[in-house]
């Protein structure tokens, strides 16, 4: 009983504090119009947003938005304020739309919704189909459906062009890193390999999503290229110790490093990664 009584009271107090901090303008923004004060709390929504709206409509991006290792659009994000994702911080920014990742800042999302701020949660693309879907979702939320369709059309055209250029034989690529983790079917890597004219060895070995791939299965698929990421290679444990295993070194596969920022989030830059891989294969197989 007691807690049931106390909770609405607490919310009311917090709400009052938030309103007083936010000032009068928060209530004035008309709800029908396209949002003008957008906050993004997730690296992937940061980048979708930057493609769709002008800087003047962005109030803050996530703290990773300016990291050159994580974000393709880090230069575009320079100079924009950065948010770390606490509810207090977001409330003081007086947003009329907040973009979040489904699995990040979960409590913040719940709290923001309780204060009546529109929140759009984007799960994070695991395929090119989902990339397009997410661009559409965000485009609809920010009122830029037309711009979204232009980006998608360009993406599809480039993908079709790449696929038309594929040779008859498909080399095998596999993403592999320390601890035996790999990316199978239903991952961005899978579609990137596909677009570059490669088969995904981990998917052929039966892996679905991200997970462990026993070394034996990797060897059995005999990949031509082992793909790894440049993400924080200098920091402990993210290097690729397992690639020194004799079973791998004697297999003759070469390692190719793809920039993490082109593979972490879904977007047109995924095709840049695919183009790199395709170019690497052409180079390796010779004229």
């Amino acid at each position: 009983m007691c807690t049931q009584w106390r909770r609405p009271g607490l919310v009311a107090i917090l709400g009052a504090v938030a309103l007083s901090v936010a000032g009068p303008s928060a209530a004035v923004t008309p709800s029908r119009d396209a949002p003008q004060r957008i906050v993004s709390l997730n690296l992937c929504t940061d980048q979708i947003l930057l493609q769709l709206v002008g800087r003047e409509r962005i109030v803050a991006l996530s703290f990773l938005s300016q990291d050159p290792f994580s974000s393709v659009l880090h230069e575009q994000a320079q100079g924009l304020p950065v948010a770390y994702g606490s509810a207090e911080e977001v409330l003081t920014l007086e947003p009329d739309l907040v973009l979040v990742g489904t699995y990040t800042t979960r409590h913040t999302t719940a709290l923001l919704r309780r204060f009546g701020i529109p929140v759009v949660a984007v799960p994070g693309a695991q395929s090119f189909a989902e990339v397009k879907e997410e661009i559409r979702t965000v485009a609809r939320a920010v009122g830029e459906v037309g711009r979204g369709e232009v980006i998608i059309a360009r993406f599809e055209a480039r993908l079709a062009q790449m696929q038309a250029g594929h040779g008859a034989t498909r080399p095998v690529a596999t993403q592999y890193r320390s601890g035996g983790f790999s990316a199978g079917r239903n991952t961005l890597y899978h579609d990137i390999f596909e677009a570059s004219g490669h088969d995904n060895g981990a998917a052929r070995a039966g892996l679905d999503g991200y997970g462990m791939l026993p070394l034996e299965r990797l060897v059995a698929e005999h990949p031509d290229t082992l793909v790894s990421s440049d993400y924080k290679r200098g920091t402990p444990t993210l290097g690729n110790r397992l690639l020194q295993h004799p079973a791998i070194t004697r297999m003759g596969a070469d390692e190719h490093i793809l920039p993490a920022r082109e593979t972490v989030c879904g977007g047109p830059w995924n095709l840049d990664a695919a183009a790199r891989l395709a170019a690497h294969h052409e180079e390796a197989s010779g004229p």
Binding site: G179, G206, L215, T235, P236, R241, Q244, P246
Partner: protein
């Protein structure tokens, strides 16, 4: 049939069983490939079967047998030296030190510097922990002091590992450290075998030589002394032997529990209460147990994260140990 005959048959059955397990282990893995294809392909020089058999399954099987034997023999030696049926290889800080060394290597990124950096860091940890136990216990103190010193060093290592986990720089480092501590022999290579095997053998030889001393010790410290056994020297030998064998084993496999505790208990009836017989038998039993456990890990693997070897030995080992205790109790009453 005399008891000696029964014992001999028991030993032969055990040897045959262990060898069979080792052979089966070569043909069970994550890729469906018949033994004929695997061996045929290897002999014909085909790349994939050859790499799978020679670079993945052979080292894994050899390490299963060697690490299991190291844990078994050390368990038997510890139980003999401390005259305590609950003693296990890690009691004197040997595995704690190895774990701390390896965890530090993972934490600092040293583990990625070169292939054998991780096991070598484990070696260094073992050496430091053992030296520390020696310093604390001295040469002429009683068994209790030795156990206390071992427990103190073990808990210190445990505390430092927790500290490292606490400070861990990223989730990947955290998961790799935790997974390493769960113990596994998956995807080890011949280079791990080349590194660990000589030390495991040296440790085992040293421990096998302690049989006479440990047998005398079963009669009590005073009697052993009167029989010409130098207790301080025996203790140094057991400790150095364990450090070599278990330090090398843990450094490549991570922590694997219960094998060292259970193997000597299993073999005690067959050894007839004689530590000098128990030592090799416990080594055999340990080898068989660990190979069987690792086979189970491979057979249980469907997809998704592999059940870690150390988790399985603990899960199976604990109830097994309980049954053993209950049976002993029934026999005693």
């Amino acid at each position: 049939m005399t008891p000696a005959h029964t014992r001999l048959i028991g030993v032969l059955v055990l040897v045959a069983f262990t060898l069979t397990l080792g052979a089966v282990s070569l043909f069970v893995g994550y890729v469906d490939m018949s033994p004929a294809r695997l061996v045929g392909g290897t002999l014909a020089g085909e790349l994939i079967p050859q790499r799978i058999l020679l670079d993945i399954r052979v080292p894994r099987t050899v390490l299963c047998l060697a690490v299991g034997a190291a844990l078994g023999i050390t368990g038997a030696a510890m139980q003999g030296l401390l005259r305590n049926p609950l003693a296990e290889p890690g009691l004197l800080g040997v595995s704690g030190g190895a774990a701390l060394g390896a965890v530090l290597a993972l934490y600092t990124g040293l583990a990625n510097a070169f292939y054998l950096a991780l096991p070598l860091a484990g070696f260094a940890g073992t050496a430091l922990a053992t030296a520390f136990v020696f310093m604390l216990a001295g040469r002429h103190t009683g068994t209790t002091t030795l156990i206390l010193a071992g427990v103190a060093v073990s808990s210190l290592c445990g505390a430092l590992i927790s500290l490292v986990l606490n400070w861990s720089p990223n989730p990947t480092a955290l998961s790799e450290i935790v997974f390493w501590m769960l113990g596994s022999l998956a995807d080890r290579s011949n280079r791990d075998v080349e590194l660990a095997l000589p030390f495991i053998c040296a440790g085992a030889v040293l421990l096998l030589g302690c049989g006479k001393g440990l047998r005398a010790l079963t009669l009590g410290e005073e009697t052993a002394h009167s029989l010409g056994i130098h207790l301080g020297r025996l203790r140094v030998r057991v400790l150095v032997g364990s450090a070599l064998a278990v330090g090398a084993a843990v450094s490549v496999s991570g922590s694997i529990g219960f094998i060292g505790l259970v193997a000597p208990h299993l073999m005690r009836p067959l050894a007839g209460g004689d530590p000098s017989r128990l030592l090799p038998l416990a080594a055999l039993a340990g080898a068989a147990l660990l190979t069987a456990a690792d086979l189970a890990v491979r057979l249980l693997h469907a997809s998704g994260p592999e059940l870690k070897l150390g988790v399985l030995t603990a899960l199976v080992g604990a109830p097994f140990f309980l049954v053993l205790i209950l049976r002993t109790r029934r026999l005693e009453t």
